[in-house]
């Protein structure tokens, strides 16, 4: 019932706090001492809905279902942060202060994630981020209450950038979304390209948001005669770039496109005919091995037939590990101090069907291998959602920024 009402209102998408108000109905009292309350905070109605959104909630519920009957009770609440830091921060505060939420999961959009991380520390709760990109979450802005699970900008730049240069793409031109995320992605990737002996031929900053036609930028990028056009953007921007590059025959004439942040939901939106040949990095692909396929089956179809993205898989794995740690400590203790739960999570090795075996570093960075994929051509694809072929795997220890380089205060002792 509450779910129905929420999705109805979501359609109207009017008042900023409506979903929050529904997520924490005042009638519902604070959670019981032995019941853990998990809040999934993400984009339910905007551009990141498909890569996180309801699918993340479904993944979290799957993890909860798998831990059911082991002695802890879990309640899941959901809210839409609309990619706005102020909205996200208000909901997180309300959840922690009034609704007895113990852990916040997901939170795409880096600016919102950084705001929520600070609140989790202030209130000594748990924050497991899956959806956001900024490597600052485990670097300059790290704290003892936050774990960054799935991916980050450093890892993407490192994997895609270095691999493309090695494969012969030694001259680059960037099309960059003109805001913090795009700049960071361009800078980080540029450094790896240079470190590998590659050349940077230039870049164009495109207004964000509000650019729909990238053809002028693509034509300019092509004039530079760069072998690789790096797309330091995300979501609809990336989709439009790839679509229009195919239209202008840029990829057909041998220029490679490097998507620096592409999710499988974006590839689905493009269709293989357009997206084929695109090189990208992810940490989870549903069709990777038996374990990932089994997990995908268990989570089930998302939003009418979609497969889980790496962000959604990260929500599953993060929740599962959180519940394992809470179980080991006892729910009552786990509710007392978020930092203690995080410390326990870092001490325990991780093992789940999404990412296999892994661990969490002292700075809060969850580490696992990073996979460089190339999008298949329509002929190579054997069925729906058969989209990627694996080009290269970067081991967990090398995939992410070294602890020492991040400048996280937790690691300075």
């Amino acid at each position: 019932m509450a779910q129905d009402r929420r999705s109805l209102l979501k359609g109207a998408a009017a008042a900023a706090l409506v979903p929050a108000a529904l997520a924490g109905l005042p009638g519902r009292a604070r959670a019981q001492a032995n019941t853990l309350k998990i809040g999934v905070l993400n984009d339910q109605s905007g551009t990141y809905r498909d890569l996180s959104g309801p699918g993340s909630v479904q993944a979290v519920r799957q993890a909860v279902a798998e831990m059911a009957g082991k002695g802890i009770q879990v309640e899941v609440v959901v809210a839409d942060h609309q990619n706005k830091p102020d909205v996200g921060a208000t909901i997180a505060r309300q959840w922690f202060d009034r609704d007895g939420v113990d852990a916040v999961i997901d939170v795409p959009t880096s600016s919102v994630a950084l705001a929520v991380a600070a609140i989790a520390e202030e209130k000594n709760k748990v924050f497991i981020n899956s959806g956001a990109g900024t490597a600052d979450l485990t670097g300059s802005q790290c704290n003892a209450n936050t774990i960054h699970w799935t991916y980050d900008t450093w890892m993407l730049a490192h994997s895609t950038g270095a691999a493309m240069v090695k494969a012969g793409g030694d001259s680059w031109f960037f099309i960059t979304a003109d805001y913090a995320f795009g700049h960071a992605l361009e800078r980080d990737t540029g450094e790896f390209v240079k470190a590998q002996g590659g050349q940077l031929l230039g870049s164009i900053r495109t207004p964000f948001p509000g650019t729909t036609d990238f053809s002028s930028f693509l034509v300019q990028a092509q004039r530079s005669r760069a072998k690789v056009i790096g797309l330091a953007n995300a979501g609809a921007d990336t989709i439009n770039c790839v679509k229009q590059a195919a239209e202008f025959g840029i990829t057909r004439r041998g220029t490679k496109l490097a998507g620096l942040l592409v999710f499988i939901s974006d590839v689905h939106a493009l269709g293989l005919k357009t997206a084929q040949g695109l090189v990208l990095t992810e940490t989870f692909y549903w069709d990777m091995n038996d374990r990932t396929r089994a997990l995908t089956q268990r989570i089930g179809d998302i939003d009418g037939g979609r497969k889980p993205t790496m962000v959604q898989a990260g929500c599953y794995a993060g929740t599962l590990h959180y519940l394992k740690a809470a179980l080991a400590m006892g729910a009552a203790d786990a509710r007392k101090s978020g930092a203690d739960v995080i410390a326990r999570m870092k001490a325990m090795p991780t093992d789940d069907d999404a990412f296999g075996q892994g661990s969490i570093r002292a700075d809060g960075r969850k580490i696992h291998p990073a996979y460089l994929f190339e999008v298949k051509s329509p002929e190579e694809s054997k069925g729906p959602w058969d989209y990627y072929k694996l080009l290269q795997t970067t081991a967990a220890e090398e995939a992410f920024r070294p602890v020492a380089a991040g400048g996280c205060r937790l690691t300075r002792t």
Binding site: S45, D50, T206, P207, T212, Q220, G249
Partner: protein, 295 residues
């Protein structure tokens, strides 16, 4: 010196062409807005959503009905236009006697609801839609650039559609009725013309123009629920610069501003989304009624 100039020209020429393509969309969308505002005095903020619906209806026709691009180019505007009829009859028609602001608020709310419903049904990242076979394939080599055939078609289609609309309104008997009803509805009604029906059909025609632009855009842009809202603000600026309600003005400014925007993308790309608004501010200071508007 001459070489320098040639180089600039070589760099600028492709942008002129691409700017015209974008201008085609601005022209088509602002044309629909101008028609609606001219006749109904309603600022149709749902225009972006109706543009998006055009693209989605084309996608649905293809994926659920196996109906391709060419029929969709006619069917989608008809379907979305019919939706416009319902909207006008049930809601907008009740607001004609009130201030502009009410129509604006109503249509803005409708836009949010329509976008939300599409997002719930189709997600946010969009749907693939390919150009028709005859217009895909390798781009045409113009010497200074490669231009996809489909983009050329967009310019042609937009020009033909704009010209037709202008001819209908300025040169036909129907157009004369329309213009007369704008001046004095009661008098035209007294001559036996069914003015409310004419108003409804005008709104539907404006909406259908938006949907037509939507179908044109589907193979180029990502077909997603937000695709209209990112375009509509620019289009409003185009309408204001051209002069509210001026048909010719909206077409000329649409193409012109597409051109200016295209050139800005070479000179100073960061400003390409702002340049239109800067022009709008200057035009409003110098000619408050717009370039082609009557004060």
């Amino acid at each position: 010196m001459l070489e320098d100039l040639l180089f600039q020209l070589e760099l600028g020429l492709p942008q002129v062409v691409l700017g015209l393509v974008n201008g085609a969309f601005y022209a088509l969308l602002s044309l629909g807005l101008a028609v609606i505002f001219g006749m109904l005095n309603v600022i149709n903020f749902a225009h972006g959503a109706q543009f998006m619906m055009g693209a989605f209806v084309a996608w649905m026709l293809l994926n659920y009905g196996g109906i391709g691009y060419w029929p969709a180019l006619i069917l989608a505007p008809l379907i979305v236009g019919a939706f416009g009829v319902v909207l006008e009859r049930t809601m907008i028609s009740r607001l004609y006697k009130l201030d502009h602001l009410y129509g604006l608020l109503l249509t803005f709310g409708m836009a949010l609801i329509i976008e939300g419903l599409f997002r719930n049904e189709f997600g946010s990242s969009g749907m693939p839609y390919s150009p028709p076979e005859i217009l895909s394939g390798p781009p045409i080599d113009l010497g200074f650039m490669f231009l996809p055939k489909y983009r050329l078609w967009v310019v042609v289609a937009a020009l033909v559609m704009s010209l037709t609309t202008w001819l209908v309104i300025e040169k036909t008997r129907l157009g004369a009725y329309l213009r007369a009803a704008t001046e004095n509805a009661a008098l035209v009604q007294a001559f036996g013309v069914n003015v409310p029906r004419m108003v409804t059909l005008t709104y539907a025609a404006g909406v259908a123009l938006a949907a037509f632009a939507g179908v044109l855009a589907a193979p180029i842009y990502s077909v997603n629920p937000q695709m209209g809202s990112s375009l509509i603000i620019v289009v409003f600026a185009v309408v204001v610069i051209g002069g509210m309600g001026s048909i010719l003005g909206s077409v000329v400014t649409g193409f012109g501003l597409g051109l200016v925007e295209g050139l800005t993308k070479v000179v100073y790309p960061e400003a390409s989304s702002t340049v239109i608004f800067v022009i709008m501010a200057i035009v409003l200071l110098a000619r408050p009624a717009g370039l082609f508007g009557r004060a």
